[in-house]
């Protein structure tokens, strides 16, 4: 039985910092925890993703928490069309079990996901 969680704000401007707290509790301590800042695509066709920053915790205790600050780059912006969405997220991954939790965030000049799905299709 494990419990992983991430607390942070959900909307960000490009180049700002994602501040938050990651918490975990395992029956047995994992070998490593990775806190990743990443983006990925969801929709039709080939998936794409990129981890832009990682905080690695080697030999963490079975239960603990980590205050983190992860700087966002200037791009790409969060958006959603009908064919593809680009989604930013912070995730906590335990190795070697692969247990994880993920919190989706949005990054754009308005701080909100850019909505392309409502636009008329060409």
């Amino acid at each position: 039985m494990s419990d992983l969680s991430i607390e942070c704000a959900s909307r960000f401007l490009p180049g700002r910092t994602v501040d938050g707290v990651a918490r975990w509790r395992f029956d047995r301590a994992p070998r490593r925890l990775d806190l990743n800042l990443l983006w990925f695509t969801r929709g039709k066709g080939t998936r794409d993703s990129q981890v832009v920053d990682t905080l690695a915790i080697d030999a963490p205790p079975a239960a603990g928490q980590l205050d983190f600050s992860l700087p966002l780059p200037d791009a790409p912006y969060s958006f959603s069309g009908r064919l593809i969405s680009l989604i930013w997220a912070v995730e906590l991954v335990a190795e070697p079990s692969g247990e994880h939790c993920r919190v989706e965030i949005a990054m754009s000049p308005t701080g909100a996901e850019i909505d392309l799905a409502g636009k008329a299709m060409p």
Binding site: R42, G43, K44, T46, S80, R82, I84, I87, D115, A117
Partner: protein, 180 residues
């Protein structure tokens, strides 16, 4: 509908794992053992061969085998697998006779070779992957239960138009939901 909300998005399609139609996984693993782990998974494109091959890996690990996954994208890579490893090869139909023979030679000392192929013949057939409209219906019901009634009238037509390729059929149905 936004792509992130489309229940037929690629992520969810890939999360749908292989389910044998006319047998159980136990039957399949028994047959695999009887074939000494050298056999083919046969079927047309989009029938679940690669998914089945991927799903074999953890079951083989549970039996104590290592696995080496080889995907034929651009010629045959050099395959190196130890005596306790089973080579899982995706796309044997892309190999000509010479390359196939080279692969068989490279894997002679390994614990097995399970390959997907569009056609039978190069090794005994473990299973023939087939698709059907009921299978497409079951997948849609699992992935998009809230839209199953909307998509139901389209299933037979999409399946026929895509010649039974489930992956392409789901892509067409994705487009339908994207237009909502």
């Amino acid at each position: 509908m936004k792509a992130r909300d489309n229940p037929l998005c690629t992520d969810r399609q890939l999360a749908f794992r292989y389910r044998p139609l006319d047998c159980t996984w136990d039957d399949l693993m028994r047959r695999l053992h009887n074939l000494r782990y050298r056999c083919l998974v046969v079927g047309p494109e989009g029938s679940g061969k690669t998914t089945l091959l991927e799903d074999l890996a953890p079951r083989l690990h549970a039996l104590g085998f290592a696995t080496t996954f080889v995907r034929i994208d651009d010629g045959l890579p050099r395959v190196s697998a130890g005596p306790s490893a089973i080579v899982l090869l995706d796309g044997a139909e892309q190999l000509d006779r010479t390359s196939w023979n080279a692969l068989c030679e490279q894997t002679r000392q390994s614990a097995g070779l399970v390959a997907t192929s569009h056609t039978a013949g190069r090794l005994p057939t473990l299973i023939e992957c087939r698709t059907s409209v009921p299978l497409l219906r079951r997948i849609v019901a699992d992935l998009a239960p809230q839209h199953a009634a909307l998509l139901e009238p389209l299933l037979a037509d999409v399946y026929a138009r895509r010649n039974g390729n489930i992956r392409l059929a789901l892509g067409d149905l994705y487009d339908v939901l994207a237009g909502l």
